[in-house]
């Protein structure tokens, strides 16, 4: 009767769970993290002598739909060349049959962890604006993320902002229906890809109406209802608005206004947040770029499109923006008034 000692067990467990990088240029260092679809490892690229992150699917290539989805994820990210989107270096199949892709190793922390150390609202808004830029770029290339949340935004060691985890992203080529879009996607990596049968198989793999994707608290209402056909850039705008809510209040989005959670939140900031999080997509910002532009105005103490100021608020904002000047002028006037009534005269 076969008996496995603890040592043999340990070895077999490593064989079973760790990816077999033989035949690739990567050398496994350690696991960085995992989810249901894949595990991310720290690996060394022996050709370029640098560390990379390698995401490996938690299944063999026989589980075709998962493999196709993972390759698709890599292809989506690879076509988005932007400083705010993690670059993909490589994609392939390991010796153990699992699909993988290698990407830039991000040294930093998630946005939700980052803000525990960063109290400054301006800094949070700058990071958020950078995230809007990255998402806006993706939208301009017909890609919607569909799972935006603080945990999917990384802040690098140099302060750079990267939007990660495009695992459930969708490509929407302009002028095409979703059906056309899915058939237009080509996956050249896996063998036997081009037959009609396999294209039909791929189309069947695509998320269908009624399927719910994303993370509940940051999901747009149409996403929560599973209205896949209705999803467009404005669904991502909703999620960005929910992230803004989190940045303004330090809490996950809830059914109360930001100013009710924290009275220090300005009316303008609240208005921007609530506009992005409008229940009806028609009432939201039309794009992540528009949202980012309003956040830029918040940062520059300029009026935002989401909020109409009264004259008093305009004056107060101007005074706030030009505090130094106001103080100097006040000092000058005080000095003048002082000399008016000074006993020395």
């Amino acid at each position: 009767m076969r008996s496995l000692s603890d040592q043999k067990l340990d070895r077999l467990r490593r064989i079973a769970t760790q990816p077999d990088f033989s035949g690739t240029k990567y050398r496994l260092i350690r696991e960085l993290g995992h989810g249901g679809m894949g595990t991310v490892y720290l690996a060394e690229d022996s050709d370029l002598n640098r560390e990379v992150a390698v995401k490996v699917l938690n299944a063999s290539a026989d589980e075709a739909a998962l493999s196709r989805r993972m390759v698709r994820e890599a292809q989506i990210i690879a076509r988005l060349e932007h400083p705010g989107i993690v670059p993909v270096h490589d994609v392939g199949v390991l010796a153990d049959g699992r699909v993988f892709y290698a990407m830039k190793l991000i040294r930093g922390e998630r946005l939700d962890k980052y803000i525990t150390n960063v109290a400054s609202l301006k800094d949070r808004l700058r990071k958020f604006q950078a995230a809007c830029d990255a998402v806006s770029f993706a939208h301009a290339h017909g890609v919607i993320h569909r799972d935006l949340k603080p945990q999917n935004i990384m802040i690098g060691t140099f302060g750079e902002v990267l939007v990660v985890d495009w695992g459930v992203a969708k490509i929407l080529p302009p002028g095409m229906t979703e059906q056309d879009a899915s058939e237009a996607e080509t996956l050249r990596l896996l063998p036997g890809r081009h037959s009609d049968e396999q294209q039909r198989q791929e189309h069947a793999d695509e998320t269908t109406h009624g399927t719910i994707i994303g993370t509940a608290k940051y999901m747009s209402p149409e996403q929560q209802r599973g209205e896949i056909d209705e999803l467009d850039q404005r669904s991502d705008v909703y999620s960005l608005g929910a992230i803004l809510y989190f940045l303004l209040t330090n809490r996950a989005p809830a059914a109360i206004r930001p100013r009710e959670v924290d009275a220090k939140v300005s009316k303008a900031a609240e208005a921007v947040c609530l506009k992005a999080m409008s229940v009806s997509s028609a009432d939201r910002y039309a794009s992540a770029a528009d949202l980012g532009a309003d956040v830029a105005r918040l940062l520059n103490d300029e009026p935002v499109s989401a909020y109409r100021e009264n004259w008093l608020e305009k004056v107060w904002r101007w005074l706030n923006k030009n505090r130094v000047l106001v103080l100097i002028v006040l000092a000058y006037l005080l000095v003048r008034i002082f000399f008016l009534f000074s006993p020395w005269r």
Binding site: L325, I328, Y332, F339, W344
Partner: protein
Amino acid sequence: MSKPLIGILVGAVLGAFDGLTAWFTPAVRDQLAGIVVSSTFKGIIAGIAIGFFAKKFHSLPLGLLFGLAIGALLAYLTARFAVGGYYFEIMLPGSLVGLIVGFATQKYGRTPVAAHP
């Protein structure tokens, strides 16, 4: 609008305003016209100097410091040659005017773009 021009405009306006406040000093009220003209002129000179400084050095603290210094210097010269010895009354507001011009030239106005080699 260039920074020197901003400096001239702000300096002139503030200089004129500063000069007009002499009306509240009965002893010099009859010299008001001359005071306003010289104060405006002083403001323009200060504005030119501070404006060119801002064109060269893009630093708010430095700009404020320079403005303060120029304002104080020109105010001192004015008080030196003025009758009555109102050094404090002239120099303190004059320094603050220089400070305001320094701020305005650093914050506003077109920053020249460096030429590419």
